[in-house]
Symmetry: D5
Subunit: 165 residues, 10 copies
């Protein structure tokens, strides 16, 4: 075993950088990748992101969510600091909850071309009701496409209790 | 990516409206829809609704429930503010718990014609016993009909602990 | 939609009655039913009953359990007030935990002839050990019989933590 | 020891009554009392009321709260079924959260003339913020007045975590 | 140190007895005591009793509570098996929640003449409201009387969340 | 009792307004008040605000906190919709956690001149450490000043467990 | 329905016995059975045993576990008081965690010849690591053997969070 | 700052020893101390001991408790490995719960002569009731004696919920 | 039954050793095994390891995780004390979270040649996001390879709530 | 209001720095301060530090704790990034739990000369027992010295439940 070397991380520009700029406008170009060192193995990487915030497209009021992103990498893996900057770029942007989760999934598919990926947003309530969209994807024509269908069919069978407090 | 435009939301009249009228009588006509922007993808949208209240049809006493609604959209999606008004219209209405959940499911099927939908009500106890009806539906003749059967067969395998406190 | 009418509820004599008599001896005859208004649909109804108490057949000491009852109705549905009176009738009665859950299931099958039903009792400990019987049933010769076998095979895969406090 | 006799309970008309009428308009006259059998002792009685709902005076939208009421009785004690009917009478009524809790306290003081009483409402959020008013009272000129001041000064020193889910 | 000897326990007849008889009628005479071996020290003994059940004096319906009993012994201490039998004797007995807690306190004061004692009952809800009486006592004319007043004044400052589930 | 009338609420311009504008720059002038209807009574009003976000003054990265605000009103009370807009105005603003809580307290004192007020921010961690400032105030020269000192001395005696997950 | 009769329980010698002897040395012979009254039905019986303790075979230090035992009975069922005595006999005995769970399973298979059985031990940590063995068994050549394989394959898919506190 | 040196720890013989012998008979002589390096400061040290087990003096059945020990050291401090061995020596010993906690306190006072100490045992239930003794001590004639009285008076004001599961 | 004998444990050198040396550099050679006594049976052994810490390869800052390791043994089983030392050897080592979990799995496969194994790391957040890699393995060409695929497909269907506090 | 300016933060060198060096040897000199902008007000700042690890001075094994630090600033405030580096410097250092908490308190008093400060460490268990030292300090000769004594006397009155899992 040897840890990642500097030469492995030349693509990674945000991590540990002193000069991080936070982009307020939606900007998928901040996303960066590094190489998967274990491409022969199927395995999951999950990001727990409880600090997601965006704006309502109609009223302009802020919305808050915890976003959970899980994927099976192929060749490329998303670097977490860049993911943070990407999610930050929704801060002053407006969209429906359902659309935002689809867009995050689309952008990460474009970036990494993963074998499998899923995105689950759990928003805080407005008017007493909260909305939780769940989106997933498996590479078309592979077993991961079936995996996506299987996981959707089995999604959220043991839902959490929500009481708005 | 671009957020929803005003022109996308002309059907949505309740959201952000100053003149919302709360209808006390059961009224499915308040429900409104908007278009699904991701119709090629199967994905879940879930509403957590802990502020549902209705009346007992025989004694008139108030009943309270948390209602969980999950669906896979087809062309139309229910707008959440209108869903809130719809659920409000049960406030002074009387029906058995089991019937109320079936009616909500029926109305949402009529409104959206979704691929799949499920409705789970968890009521507070009366006489030391609480009742939790769970109803689901998949579009007949499609794989979603099998999905409904599969999810019913696997329903509530890890039930919550209930101690009435 | 219209709520249940009085004429629908003539079989229901306990609900809202001022003259409820609590029967201390085991008595399945107190159970009452009403008609299922949605017989074309398979759906679940669940009763959470945390106030179940009976006596040990050998020592006479009281036992306490939370009983969870879930079923898919066919033509008849059990009325919850009568279920409460039925469960009350175990109060001064003695039987082993395992037998009590089987008897409740048998009585409800006799009463409703449901498509599927399951009964799970979770007792408080005696001598540091607690006992949780789980019993289920699917109408013989139907797909619900397979459902019962399937749910038994998948029963309690994520058990709760019990520490006797 | 002997239990309450029928003759002790002639003032109590709602409890066990078949003919309970639920009054939709604010109506403190439904409140009933019974006599305190232990007037020489200071002790607390607490009501946990998680099923309180009212309307916003400006927008008409429904509000939901759990209301906790604790008091030290003097001569009269409030009967719990009548308390339920009283709280129900806020159902279609509009007032600010802060006012509603003050009004409940005032009505119970008028009814029972208790030694001490406190009312704490915990509402569900609107626009991401929830409001929890806490009101108390001690009989003027007695040690209970000091008790009220003391309990206010020590109120909510260990606040619950609220995350709107 | 040496453990309790048999000769210390001649007053204790229920503990370990094969012939325990469960008395269904209220009967404080089943209570037994043993001697306090540490009478020079003030210390607390607490009983957690989550299996308390009684009947409503007006409707006959069963009520359930968890009863918490804490006391500072003087010369006599209550034996726990006899306490269990005593609490069992409320099983088919009817009284108001508030009265039941006062009676338990009175009986234990009569039995043990403790320096200080408190009894807190937390009942399951009826009609959506639950009742929690709290009663305490300090030996009159001693510092324990002030202790009782102090603990009442500080009672339940951090109340539990109750949602009836 | 009568609910707040429209004439009582002429100062309240944000609540229920269709034209709410969310101000991104720190702006205490959005705060609005209404009159306290119970000025003879000392009572607490608490706001739970889990959706507070600001920026780090040095790195520009987003910070998130739950802010708890409790106060005893005098003549004026802060309206909750305007409080929401005020807290929103920290969204694109940078300050240290300790400063932000002091500023919120100062602005609310300026606005309402309350008898007593406290502000507690609980931030999410950065680098494995989270910061929770707690600030309070009592009107100088009154008993509320002593109350502030007393509550500070007793602050957070039962701290929550924090494990960064 | 009729409760278990004395004549059904002649094999049961420990339950309710005054002369229980606790055996400190490993002794499977204390296990006792009674007949299954519902042998035509497959159902689960589960024992929650949070009071299991044994010794480390190498260091002699005490180990503690919660043991969960679930089985589908065939003709014989294990009596819970005898199970308690059996588990007690590990008290001063030494073995590896993995071996102890296998031995308990083997002994219960020998005793009852059940259709299916599983044993899950959850130990407290030593050196910051805790060990949880899970063992199961289905009667060879029956569908229960496949059931054992299926449940092993699906074992612990939703693991508890462990933080050693 | 410098860490404890070997020469500071010559009294400590159990910690890190390969030859630890576990003594099954009650034996306070295994307790060892080390010197307090901060004797000018009053501070608390707390031991959480969830693995305490003893035997009932009358029936011989095992009892289990979590024992919490908190003290303010004077000159000597108890070494934790020796405390473990001491608590282990109750394993095959019999005494009443109330006595065991008093004995532990007495032994630790004899060992360390601390300024203040308290011992709280929380036992698992027998017959549906659990017992929690709490004992404390302050050095006679010092302010710590008043501290003991104060902490006893304020003991367990926010009791945990116990439901025997 | 007989416990592990000394002769069974000659390979186990770390357990109970007084001379344990903690190796700060990554060192899989510290891992030790003992023989599986139940090789005819498929069963799970799980290690909960909440005290894992490593360093970031780019910034050098410490990272913390809870690591869960579950496996089905074949001939060899990993000894837990040696596992502790192995995990300790990551303490001053740097690697990406995703790589560390793959390396642990690879080393344990090399050591034990197990039938099945999985490793799940749950890290604390950096910059508001936490990363949880999950890796598994089944012996190639056996049913355990399919088991690995099945468990990956069903991984984390009921994710925990993460809020960074 | 204006946020902290760059000129206010010239003393703060670690925050946002790309060149952070993690010091493995105990080094209080890494601690940095900034000025308190609200010195006329007494208020609390709390750091939650769940990622503290050190080594046992005798065995060399790693220890883990969550450290909670609360203080009332006077002129200087500790900067959180430097606090993180300081706590990191215990990583490969050995000391008793009780000593480590005293040292942290001493170093922060030397650094900031705060009005009041307290440090509470909660360690993970070794041998089934965990240790939680709590240390505090008030500036001698001021009211904060009395505050320290008062908070010590009231320390941990509502202890958490610890079960080592
Ligand atoms: Ca909640
Ligand atoms: Ca919550
Ligand atoms: Ca519950
Ligand atoms: Ca509860
Ligand atoms: Ca537990
Ligand atoms: Ca939460
Ligand atoms: Ca609850
Ligand atoms: Ca946690
Ligand atoms: Ca835990
Ligand atoms: Ca814990
Ligand atoms: Ca509990
Ligand atoms: Ca519990
Ligand atoms: Ca528990
Ligand atoms: Ca959390
Ligand atoms: Ca947490
Ligand atoms: Ca725990």
């Amino acid at each position: 075993m040897s840890g990642r070397k500097e030469t492995d991380l030349t693509e990674v520009t945000h991590l540990g950088s002193q000069n991080t700029t936070y982009q307020f406008d939606y900007d998928p170009s901040v996303l960066e990748t590094f190489d998967n060192h274990h491409p022969k193995r199927d395995y999951f990487v999950k990001f727990n992101c409880p600090e997601f915030t965006t704006l309502c497209p109609k009223t302009g009021q802020p919305d808050f969510a915890t976003v959970y992103i899980s994927y099976i990498p192929d060749i490329k893996m998303v670097e977490s600091k860049s993911l943070k900057l990407y999610l930050f770029s929704f801060r002053n942007h407006g969209d429906f909850h359902e659309d935002a989760m689809n867009i995050i999934l689309n952008d990460l598919v474009d970036l990494m071309d993963p074998r499998y990926i899923e995105v689950w947003g759990k928003f805080t309530p407005r008017g007493g009701i909260s909305i939780d969209p769940y989106v997933n994807y498996g590479k078309p024509g592979t077993k991961y496409e079936e995996m996506a269908e299987y996981r959707l069919m089995n999604h959220d069978m043991n839902p959490e209790t929500v009481d708005n407090r």
